[in-house]
């Protein structure tokens, strides 16, 4: 008996070790860049430029100079606020347009709905690097040049098509029977949608929120061409344009500001990760 147990527990031990090893490698792979960013943000410049120094630890005493630069020599705090403002507005507009559009395509247009959904998704594939020149004219015509509103108006052109397509698939996966039962019970179409369909679509909606917010926070080309006033910049454009001087990169401030900007997004992901994953995977699983 003992002889039979020994290989089994050895196998379990091996499996667990392998499991932890893979997990450890994955954690190092994903967390190392952030750790490196954080360490670099506290290093002195002379420490950074010495190739004999260990890049992953302090070879000279840590300093707050890089952070002082970020918060006193640049408008970083303002850029964070701008980014949050644009992100929230874009999320709002995207939800307002994509939820009804996705639901309509899923429920009312039959086979045409699918074709239209694919058509809308194809719009998402047109790269902003091609669109920024005509879009610059639209922004000027609207009188929104050099304002955050130019981004609030243009980012939904990227987020709405993808979100509509995503939500369309999600709404399709919700059985019609549930809605029909609600209609029989006396709900209006809107009532059934709000009380029955929408709560079931929460993972999809969270996916749209995260997608729209992170896209707004990281988009570059539109932000670069529509906004040049330093006080109106978002993080994605303020950091590279104000912390790179010609061919000199201010690595300490760059790393510090990049790290700080990624913290809120990381927290957001942490709290809604399960629902976010199910938003991508559960479409079709609600039965």
């Amino acid at each position: 008996m003992d002889q039979a147990i020994a290989p089994r527990s050895l196998r379990r031990f091996g499996l667990q070790t392998g499991h932890f090893l893979v997990l450890a490698l994955f954690i190092i792979f994903t967390a190392l860049p952030f750790a490196w960013m954080l360490i670099t943000a506290f290093k002195q410049n002379t420490d950074l430029y010495n190739p004999l120094n260990n890049p992953f630890w302090f070879n000279e005493p840590p300093t707050l100079d890089q952070w002082r630069y970020v918060f006193t020599k640049t408008m970083y705090a303002r850029w964070l606020v701008n980014t949050a403002f644009v992100g929230v507005m874009v999320v709002g507009i995207t939800l307002l347009l994509a939820i009804p559009a996705g639901y309509s395509l899923a429920r009312f247009l039959g086979r045409w709905g699918e074709q239209l959904g694919i058509g809308i998704f194809l719009v998402y594939l047109v790269p902003p690097t091609l669109l920024f020149i005509p879009m610059a004219r639209v922004v000027t015509a609207l009188g929104l040049q050099n304002t955050l509103w130019s981004l609030v108006v243009t980012y939904p052109t990227i987020t709405v098509p993808f979100s509509t397509w995503l939500l369309m698939g999600f709404f399709k996966s919700i059985p019609r029977d549930l809605e029909e039962a609600a209609l029989v019970d006396g709900y209006s179409r809107l009532g059934a949608f709000l009380r029955i369909v929408l709560p079931l679509a929460v993972p999809g909606i969270i996916t749209v929120i995260i997608f729209s917010f992170t896209l707004s926070a990281q988009e570059f080309v539109y932000a670069l061409t529509f906004v040049t006033a330093t006080a109106q910049k978002t993080v994605s454009i303020g950091v590279p344009s104000d912390m790179v001087r010609g061919d000199i990169f201010d690595w300490g401030p760059l790393m510090g500001s990049a790290f700080l900007a990624s913290v809120p997004v990381a927290i957001l992901y942490y709290f809604v990760l399960d629902r976010f994953v199910s938003g991508f995977t559960a479409a079709g699983a609600i039965r």
Binding site: T46, N50, R137, D247
Partner: protein, 520 residues
């Protein structure tokens, strides 16, 4: 059920005429009125003649931080107050300028507001000539020459004047010399190791051949030569400087493609072979992944021994040394101070078989958009003229413009109107350079950049920096040609033929638009 009695109000609808309205109507009218009153000023912003002129300036975030401080906080506001102009200055990264230029050009083409009135670019923007105010540019240049701060040096004229249309598509306010930087301590060791009939001077390279010979030893010492062979600005400059020193070029004076035409063909092939040898003997594979920041970072990290760049390498080394001295490090033992002291620049561009020809590292060129707004254009012209006059520290002091452009840029911006700051004043600064002194470095270290007037040529030399040259530059045809040969992917002949065919296609496109001369 009895309906609720509605409260009524009386409103005047015309003189002597009153009407009774319900409470609901009253609230609607009041609401609309309040909204209109609050939003009106933001929606209806009609400009009147009494409003001050607003001049919107866009320029790169300067390599020297105190320059931006001076420009934004001293020159622009004081100039604006004196001239009754509201000056708004915005900065972007140098790499971001082309995208913004493209977006603003599309607005000007449509007759819309471009977003800025005056833009400083760092390379000659020949392609936007139809959209800029060429008359205004010419008037600025003529006025500055009349004020006796000229001559407008040939490098600047070749970078801003189109001989086909006889128009100035920009006004250059400065150029930045592009010398070779080398580590003096390592160079001496390498020079000592080069033996036989081929010798190299211990005081630094004079020719490209010196760089190859010493580079061989430098690579053995673990500090190879770092000259890019990738698709980025420094590679573009290095390879053109080398080609021009070999007596070949993309075009001739008349904008005919000559790179593959005898006798230039053989010279180009010789240059290609030299770079292949230079790479194999003295460089390392990292040069194929070079970026605009690589030469600075690799040099300052002590990995490479030779780079070609603006004086930003020296200045950054000095900034690190000054930091170390502030911390109380012993200058004789501080690695940062020693690096600064051992960072030297060559007196001239390295020579090839046909001469010692280098380039500008960047070419500061301002453009004024053609918007038809005379008041703004006049303000832009005056601003530009006074900015260039502010090079002279005495003029700047007299006008209340602080230290002036030359001192504020720490000699990074070199004047294209050669007497905007007279030579004696340039040398007075460079031989007693306060930045070098603060770093514990030789105070006259950078004095030799003055010679750049003799060896710095424009991109496209001996022809003008036209729209075809600009496109060839931005599509990296020359770096690709050299890199393919250096990597052994193509023979020199095949790489040259392929590049020349591509260049002719580009020339044809711009000739068809009437912006580029030549026939071949």
């Amino acid at each position: 059920m009895e309906g609720r009695k509605e409260e009524v109000h009386w409103v005047q609808v015309a003189e002597g005429k009153w009407r009774r309205i319900t409470r609901r109507e009253f609230l609607k009218i009041a609401g609309v009125g309040v909204a209109a009153a609050s939003l009106g000023p933001f929606i209806f912003t009609e400009k009147t003649a009494a409003q001050p002129v607003r001049l919107r300036v866009l320029q790169w975030r300067h390599f020297v931080p105190p320059y931006d401080d001076w420009f934004d906080k001293v020159f622009a506001p004081r100039w604006g107050a004196k001239n009754g102009v509201q000056v708004v200055v915005e900065h972007v990264g140098v790499a971001d300028l082309p995208a913004i230029l493209a977006a603003e050009a599309s607005r000007v083409a449509r007759g819309a507001d471009p977003g800025h009135d005056l833009i400083q670019l760092l390379s000659p923007p020949a392609a936007v000539e139809p959209l800029v105010d060429t008359d205004a540019h010419r008037e600025v240049i003529e006025e500055l020459v009349n004020k006796k701060v000229g001559p407008y040096i040939p490098l600047a004229r070749m970078s801003t004047y189109n001989p086909v249309t006889k128009k100035y598509f920009g006004v250059s306010d400065n150029f930045v010399p592009d010398p070779i930087h080398y580590r003096a301590d390592l160079w001496r060791r390498a020079a000592f190791r080069v033996t036989g009939p081929e010798r190299v001077p211990s005081k630094g390279p004079i020719t490209w051949e010196h760089i190859r010979l010493a580079g061989r030893e430098l690579k053995k010492l673990g500090n190879p030569v770092g000259l890019g062979l990738s698709q980025e600005i420094d590679t573009n400059m290095f390879l053109r400087a080398l080609m021009y020193s070999w007596g070949t070029s993309e075009q001739d004076e008349g904008s005919n493609v000559i790179i593959d035409v005898p006798p230039y063909r053989q010279r180009t092939i010789d240059a290609l072979k030299f770079v292949k040898a230079l790479y194999e003997e003295a460089m390392f594979p990292g040069v194929f992944a070079w970026t605009a920041a690589s030469n600075n970072e690799e040099f300052l990290a002590g990995r490479i021994s030779i780079a070609m760049n603006a004086i930003s390498i020296t200045r950054t080394a000095q900034a690190l040394a000054a930091e170390a001295l502030k911390r109380g490090e012993d200058p004789e033992r501080s690695p940062a101070v020693q690096l600064a002291r051992n960072t030297e620049i060559t007196e001239r561009a390295p020579a090839g078989p046909a001469g010692a020809r280098g380039l500008e590292h960047v070419m500061g060129v301002y453009i004024i958009w053609k918007t038809g707004n005379r008041r703004v254009t006049e303000a832009a012209k005056k601003f530009l003229i006074d900015l260039i006059l502010s090079y002279d520290p005495d003029v700047a002091t007299k006008e209340g413009w602080g230290p002036g452009k030359f001192h504020a840029s720490q000699a990074y911006d070199y004047p294209t109107f050669q007497n905007a700051i007279p030579k004696a004043k340039r040398l007075a600064y460079l031989t007693n350079d306060p930045v070098s002194k603060a770093a514990g470095d030789r105070p006259d270290k950078l004095a030799t950049i003055e010679t750049a007037y003799e060896w710095a040529y424009n991109v496209g030399w001996p022809g003008p920096s036209n729209a075809a040259i600009d496109e060839i530059f931005n599509t990296f045809i020359i770096p690709v040609m050299f890199a393919r040969v250096a990597q052994g992917i193509d023979t020199p002949e095949r790489a040259l033929d392929s590049a020349a065919a591509e260049m002719r296609r580009i020339y044809k496109k711009w000739r068809d638009q009437g912006l580029v001369g030549g026939r071949r």
